[in-house]
Symmetry: C2
Subunit: 222 residues, 2 copies
């Protein structure tokens, strides 16, 4: 990139960095203290901007929440696509996807907690156009992720790797089981993440019918 | 009961009926329109009492929500206890419990949806003593239900009916999978309740390791 381009792009780039910083600070606050209990002004203080400047990036706390959700789900989707593209064998793919689902930083755990706790807000239409647009974007990403999973499961069924059944219901079962973890899991809590990962990966594979207990690869056993 | 006792008890009895009526109306509103989008005054109008009279029964919308949650979880617990007491065989018990979990009126489906959508509110301490008391009561009921399930699973493991594993994590997996259904299931939606019941019962039993697919009783198959 030439220096003239750098100059031209520097304002959007700084704005993009500030926006990312706000999203990260908001995820921490919402995930740790709860969405309802977090004040929009606290996030402004965290990133060192005034409340007015904050509104340049996000119209409201809710707008910001929807953008966090959209990014989180898009991130899940791209990880899913990358991993499933790496394996021809559907059971190896499933194993790799399940393991990846638990390779999470503390920030990503907080983000998952937030995603699950405030999922209900995605179902209420918003009066503000910007909020509604962000809500629709997050919902579209959820549908994309479900579609990717259902397509993957349908192919695994067609290949005879897992028993035939409704791939959309099975997708909902897998994502529902996974999402439920973040309602109770706490970093530094009684159950460490690697034990949760081992337990839930095995149980999810059993639920899918991909491998009876005795065939589960040793690395998936906690 | 003598008529003098009836007279003495009539006021509490009428109050109890009105309270139940408010809880039922609130469950319908919260479940159908969403908790956030429901106005406390709409519930007062539904049951034909003024907003001031409503406050005699519940301090706030949130207080009312916590009481609904507490009653719903207590109801699950007593159904669970009643059914598991009827069977000596843990796998028959499990089968009966799973089927019972889906024998729901439309009102109970709405209540489940509400329970799941607003579960996050149970984790934030309330400043008001009455709200906080109701929140703690709902949390205690949740622990009771989890404890009952974990005890049941631990006995089934001890009897060799299901593979040995952590009964508390398995409880969380079962309840998490079940709760996830009410986030997307809608009466009169694309998937009828009996199909959901068949699918999720089979998948839950597979997850628990209670019966491989070919051993699942025919009545559990959709």
């Amino acid at each position: 990139m030439s220096s003239s381009q750098e100059k031209t792009n520097s304002k959007p780039r700084i704005e993009g960095a500030k926006r990312a910083e706000i999203l990260a600070a908001a995820t921490e606050r919402f995930g740790r203290d709860g969405y309802e209990d977090t004040k929009w002004a606290d996030i402004a203080a965290d990133v060192g901007v005034g409340a007015t400047a904050l509104y340049h990036y996000f119209e409201s706390k809710q707008h910001c929440l929807f953008v966090i959700m959209e990014q989180a789900i898009a991130d899940f989707r791209s990880r899913f696509e990358r991993i499933t593209a790496q394996h021809r064998d559907p059971l190896l793919s499933l194993d790799a996807v399940m393991r990846d689902c638990f390779e999470l930083s503390d920030h990503e755990v907080l983000r998952n907690r937030l995603l699950v706790a405030e999922q209900g807000l995605l179902s209420s239409r918003r009066a503000s156009p910007r909020e509604e647009e962000a809500r629709e974007a997050a919902r579209a990403r959820t549908r994309d992720l479900e579609f990717a999973w259902a397509g993957f499961l349908a192919r695994a069924m067609r290949d005879g790797a897992i028993p035939e059944d409704d791939p959309r219901l099975l997708t909902r079962a897998i994502l529902g089981l996974y999402n439920s973890i973040w309602q109770w899991y706490r970093p530094n809590g009684a159950v460490p993440l690697d034990r949760v990962a081992g337990f839930f990966s095995r149980r999810a594979v059993a639920m899918i019918g991909g491998a009876p207990d005795e065939q589960v690869p040793a690395r998936m056993v906690a």
